[in-house]
């Protein structure tokens, strides 16, 4: 697990940079690298579904944060480096397509899903948990961490609604 420790060190240093950086946009980019590092960590720990979710959420967060931090739109460079820009874009498109081709070849054939975990749960869940509702046994036993996170999200949602809607915050600016 040396890679994971190196990745964690990288993420910690990026987080410190994100906190300490004077420039807003560089701290946002450092925050993005923390998220991408977390995504790679999920991949190393063999949780690809979480990695995909993390990647999507991270890109969305990055876009929103960049839009929020930028005061105005950056000027679009049209003249000068036209050849370099087009060439690098084409290069990235080709590299992306090669990786997509390799990744799509690895996916199992349509109609033959590798249901190893599901089969394990369907056969051994009753003996392991004693619950006859397998969905409950998944969300409260095998994947109880996720449920803890969901409960936390609900708590945060209630606090958020109360914070947005509270009377004091509404009345103060008018008084």
């Amino acid at each position: 697990m040396l890679e994971l420790q190196l990745l964690l060190l990288f993420m910690i240093s990026a987080a410190i940079i994100a906190v300490e950086a004077k420039d807003m946009i560089s701290s946002v980019i450092a925050l993005g690298t923390v998220g991408i590092g977390l995504c790679l960590g999920f991949l190393l720990l063999k949780a690809p579904d979480l990695a995909i979710t993390q990647l999507v959420a991270e890109i969305l967060c990055l876009i929103i944060l960049i839009r929020a931090t930028l005061k105005q739109d950056l000027p679009l460079v049209r003249d000068g480096r036209w050849f370099f820009n087009t060439f690098s874009t084409l290069c990235f498109i080709v590299i992306f397509l090669i990786f997509v081709f390799l990744a799509l070849k690895e996916i199992s054939v349509f109609g033959n899903p590798e249901m190893k975990i599901a089969k394990e749960i369907l056969t051994g869940s009753l003996d392991k948990t004693g619950a006859t509702n397998f969905i409950t046994s998944v969300i409260l036993d095998f994947r109880a961490y996720d449920t803890l996170g969901e409960a936390t999200i609900l708590f945060a949602a209630v606090i958020g609604v109360a914070a947005v809607m509270r009377k004091i915050g509404r009345n103060k600016p008018r008084a």
Binding site: T132, N133, I135, I139, L140, L148, F155, A157, V158, K167
Partner: protein, 153 residues
């Protein structure tokens, strides 16, 4: 007579109030049933908690804010919300008795298809139900109070 008429004006019409009186308790009981049988039949803490919250919401819609808040006040709701979360965490931490965090630590899981089975899962369900029910109801309370505050301005 005039006084009772004044009281009737709070909330919705007489018919809605009567139906609510008949059904609110049944809905609450159904929610509790869904929670307690979450490990045997479809349902569980989230669904049951939602139903329990909706029974309180129904009382609030039919009878107005004050009567519903007399059943479950904001302060009580805040306390219960925290109690639900802490109960979940406490059961999760009790898993250290059996090895690690969040483990189903009961030695005998009980007979399947009975109410007392599945180890810690019913307790998790109860904790989540308290949390979901009170959380959704407090969101509703907050929205109603904001509406009243806007009207008073």
């Amino acid at each position: 007579m005039v006084d009772s008429n004044k009281k009737e004006e709070i909330g919705m019409s007489f018919m809605v109030k009567t139906v609510t009186r008949l059904t609110a308790v049944v809905i609450l009981l159904f929610g509790i049933y869904i929670v307690l049988h979450g490990h045997i039949s479809p349902g569980g803490g989230f669904a049951g908690g939602l139903i329990i919250a909706l029974s309180f919401v129904q009382v609030m819609i039919a009878f107005g804010k004050d009567i519903a808040l007399r059943k479950l006040s904001e302060a009580k709701a805040a306390v219960l919300e925290s109690v639900g979360g802490l109960l979940f965490l406490t059961i999760a931490a009790l898993g250290f008795l059996g090895g690690h965090f969040l483990i189903n630590f009961f030695a005998s899981k009980g007979r399947p298809f009975t109410l007392f089975s599945a180890g810690t899962i019913p307790f998790y369900n109860i904790a989540i139900a308290i949390k979901v029910a009170v959380g959704l109801f407090s969101i509703f309370i907050v929205l109603v109070i904001l509406k009243r505050a806007k009207k008073e301005e």
